[in-house]
């Protein structure tokens, strides 16, 4: 039987307009061939800029913002859709192929009720009568696990949660009984525990309706749960293409191997040591609210070790960092740092307190002044804390750059001239320059591609061994925790629900929330999703 979709030698280009230079054409996708059979799921995987979304949308012959399909064939149901006119494409889009966007919150029209939008294609293509379409939508709402499927469609997009919108968008895509659905990172914007529920709902819906799908993601472990075949992409070119089992268990290419083994850093837990930071019974709330975002938090961080604070958005983990840095003075409790009591407010702290406690941010882009060079950024703490200047300062900056493995030639560059990983490295060097005893790392790897994130984690571990610096590592990602932590605190709704050494925290028996959180981390093996759903004790926090 012929394949449903067959892409041959696809080439996609766009025109880029670099400021101050003449426009030039760039190739986004080059010579990619792939096919999807009826009812099968193809996973497209790669880092940002790999061209995976661009290929996904090409299955609808759609190019976002000036993107042009310039070569090859896209054969859907036996005909090449690349040469089709607007009318032909309109007949195909929303009928044979439908689309689920990454951010359903932006993809729904805020002015119209969900039901109207979900059944719109079905009606406008004349596929069903209104009553029939509505009945099908309600059936799909139920299948996707949405609450009160009968009345769910009466709501407006802003009246339901992000996870629910993502399911509603899946219902919208499935309603006209298409042959192929394109899922474009449908779970990436969701919390870990919600992500798993939505993933499971999507998988079941694909299975039950027998539709074929293109599933686009940057997370190999996620796509391994839903796909039959996987295409690994890098910078618009094919790296490897094969059945999911072969890709996961027997990758042929180095790049694929790296993706499969990502986050498998082996980190031995260190022996007990005296605490450099001790947080005792800290409670805090934001000005003008009457709700405690931190409730009675007590944790210790041994000198030269790493305490990982894990939790989902709203758990209070970033607030804990703000309390320790003095940006949000606690209403109760005390914080001891390097043997002395740390005053709550930033203004009352000594220069040594400030120097010995440094911070690295999630978005390296906004953590560096775009008008300062790397040399100024790293040099400022040297000048400010140690009074260094001139040649001595420049030499020390170069030493720090060597330490973060960036070498010569970067000292006079501006942040905009660096890659994402390099920017984060410069932020690490800036923190190191102060010779701190503790660095607070706030989600420092979550904005980075997996391989780059891996490099940053390894660097942080090396630096810890060299400089004997402690990390308070805030993250929502348990794989990162396993890679780097000596101690772990699990936070949920402002409280620490579980705290101890890494081995203790990760060894059963678990409390319900830790169990949910631990089990929600996608694992790089087939059949993990089904196992997990069968065993867990608690519904996700997002529902």
């Amino acid at each position: 039987m012929a394949d449903l979709l067959e892409i041959r030698n696809l080439r996609i280009e766009a025109t880029s307009y670099p400021p101050g230079e003449p426009p030039r054409d760039v190739v986004l996708v080059d010579n990619v061939s792939v096919s999807v059979a009826k009812g099968k799921v193809l996973g497209l995987i790669g880092e940002s800029g790999a061209g995976k979304s661009t290929i996904g949308l090409s299955a609808m012959a759609y190019g976002r913002g000036g993107v042009r399909l310039t070569g090859g064939q896209i054969i859907l149901n036996g005909r090449d859709i690349r040469g089709m006119g607007p009318a032909g494409l309109r007949a195909l889009r929303g009928r044979e192929v439908t689309y689920v966007a990454q951010s359903a919150a932006a993809a729904f029209n805020p002015a119209k009720r969900l039901m109207e939008q979900v059944i719109e294609t079905t009606l406008s293509h004349g596929l069903m009568a209104r009553a029939e379409a509505e009945a099908r939508a309600v059936m799909l709402f139920g299948k996707l696990g949405l609450p009160n499927p009968e009345t769910f469609g009466n709501r407006y997009p802003h009246q339901v949660s992000g996870g629910q919108l993502q399911r509603a968008m899946t219902a919208m895509a499935l309603c006209p009984k298409p042959d192929l659905v394109i899922f474009d990172e449908p779970t990436t914007a969701l919390d870990v525990t919600t992500q798993i529920d939505v993933l499971a709902a999507i998988k079941e819906a694909i299975h039950d309706t027998g539709v074929a799908a293109l599933y686009i993601t940057h997370d190999l472990a996620v796509v391994a749960q839903v796909a039959d075949d996987i295409l690994v992409l890098r910078q618009g070119k094919k790296v490897e293409y094969g059945p999911v089992r072969q890709i996961i268990t027997d990758p042929h290419e180095d790049y694929t191997r790296a993706l499969v083994s990502v986050r498998s850093i082996d980190h031995e837990e260190k022996a007990a040591a005296p605490a450099v930071l001790s947080v005792q019974n800290v409670t805090a709330r934001y000005k003008g609210t009457n709700f405690d975002v931190l409730k009675n938090v007590t944790v210790d961080l041994p000198a030269g070790q790493t305490l990982a604070v894990v939790g989902e958005s709203g758990s209070g983990k970033s607030t804990l960092a703000r309390a320790i840095t003095g940006l949000l003075p606690p209403s109760q409790g005390r914080i001891t740092f390097a043997g002395r009591a740390l005053s709550g407010a930033l203004q009352e702290r000594s220069k040594d307190d400030l120097r010995e406690l440094q911070m690295i941010y999630q978005m390296a882009d906004t953590a560096m002044n775009p008008r300062q060079t790397v040399g100024t950024i790293i040099g400022r703490p040297l000048e400010f804390y140690f009074g260094m200047g001139g040649e001595a300062k420049r030499r020390r900056v170069q030493e720090l750059l060597d330490q973060i493995e960036m070498g010569k030639g970067y000292i006079d560059r501006y942040p905009a001239e660096l890659s994402g990983g390099q920017k984060q490295r410069v932020c690490i060097a800036r923190a190191l320059a102060a010779k701190p005893k503790l660095i607070i790392c706030d989600e420092v790897t979550s904005a980075l591609d997996p391989l780059v994130a891996d490099g940053i984690l390894k660097l942080l571990l090396n630096l810890q061994a060299q400089e004997h610096v402690a990390y308070l590592f805030i993250t929502h990602d348990l794989a990162t925790v396993k890679a780097i932590a000596d101690k772990i605190a699990v936070m949920y709704r402002g409280q620490v629900v579980r705290y101890g050494s890494k081995t203790d925290v990760l060894t059963p028996p678990f409390d319900d929330y830790t169990d949910l959180l631990l089990s929600s981390v996608p694992e790089m093996r087939l059949g993990w999703l089904e196992e997990m759903l069968a065993h867990r004790k608690m519904e996700s926090a997002g529902n």
């Binding site: 609808m60 759609y62 976002r64 494409l89 309109r90 007949a91 195909l92 889009r93 929303g94 009928r95 439908t98 689309y99 966007a101 951010s103 932006a106 993809a107 729904f108 029209n109 805020p110 002015a111 119209k112 719109e120 294609t121 406008s124 293509h125 407006y156 802003h158 009246q159």
Partner: protein
């Protein structure tokens, strides 16, 4: 009470409070400036008797807050006082001229609003292509012109180069509607020119903003016809920003009227204000200034209320 009613009521209450504050500002701006008001009005050469008389008629001997509340109380009961220069009742004088000003502004609005929306739509539809570039280029240069400069270019063009119109706009009571319309043709053209550019550019920006939303892409990927995308998905979301753009520019129009009236010798409120500023007739300036401010604030409140009412998040709260 529905939360949206509450928001609208709050906005209107805030507007009234603002108007009260503005009345205080106008009062303070004229009567509490450093120096002697009577001296400022009459100049250095004034005789002591004249100064005393003026102080008496302005009530300057009484404390400022008493005068403010008297003034405000009078306005609230429809009593604007009498003009210093000719003893005429200000309320009456305003009554005669307000109609003329509103007629002029209304004529300009009736032409410029649909035209601006149409041009804005065309510019947005052909974003970046030649119709957009032509419209944007022409409007950019008219934005740089003050009203009176635009007025004289138009006068020169339409009365001298192509003698179609009369260069003055005389209106008087008992004039027929058509005659009146002919009389204001030239000032209306000027006002349209001045206000059109702003309105059109803001409309274009509002439409482009909506057209670049992710939900428009969703609609396109549903295979809907371009008309359906525009009417069902873009229009319901674009209407609020466009209406508020239009109303804000109408507020701007009300001010533009002042200068245009002077250019064409059109006997209305703006001309009345400027005349009496030159004559330093304080009660008239205060009263007319307050009326212009009230119209401006009123239109701004209207723009906000339309924005609130058309926001689905506010209309259908969680």
């Amino acid at each position: 009470m529905h939360p949206i009613l509450k928001l609208v009521a709050q906005r209107i209450a805030l507007g009234l409070l603002l108007l009260l504050a503005v009345s205080l500002l106008i009062f303070l701006g004229t009567e509490a400036l450093p120096g002697d008001v009577a001296q400022a009005i009459l100049g250095q050469s004034a005789t002591p008797e004249a100064l005393a008389n003026l102080r008496e008629s302005l009530g300057l001997n009484r404390p400022a807050y008493v005068r403010y509340f008297d003034w405000l109380g009078g306005i609230l009961t429809g009593d604007f006082g009498v003009a210093l220069t000719n003893g005429q009742d200000i309320g009456q004088a305003i009554g005669q001229r307000l109609g003329n000003t509103l007629f002029l502004a209304a004529c300009a609005a009736v032409i410029s609003v649909p035209l601006a929306i149409l041009l804005g739509l065309i510019a947005a539809r052909y974003n970046g292509r030649w119709p957009d570039k032509v419209i944007s280029g022409v409007t950019l240069s008219t934005i740089s012109l003050p009203e009176f400069v635009a007025a004289y270019f138009v006068i020169f063009l339409l009365t001298q180069v192509f003698p179609i119109f009369q260069p003055v706009a005389m209106v008087f009571p008992g004039m027929g509607f058509w005659e009146r319309l002919q009389a204001v043709a030239l000032p209306v053209i000027v006002l349209v020119l001045v206000v059109l550019a702003h309105m059109m550019r803001m409309t274009r920006a509002a439409i482009l903003n909506v057209m670049q939303s992710a939900y428009i892409e969703t609609a396109e990927l549903k295979g809907l016809s371009p008309m359906r995308v525009i009417w069902q998905h873009a229009f319901p979301n674009a209407i609020a920003p466009i209406v508020s753009v239009v109303v804000l520019n109408l507020a701007y129009l009300v001010v533009g009227v002042v200068v245009v009236e002077v250019v064409f010798g059109y006997n209305a409120l703006g001309q009345y204000l400027v005349d009496h500023v030159a004559k330093r007739d304080l009660p008239v300036v205060q009263a007319v200034g307050l009326i212009f401010a009230a119209v401006y604030i009123g239109l701004n409140i209207l723009a906000d209320v339309i924005g609130i009412v058309s926001n689905p998040r506010l209309r259908h709260p969680k």
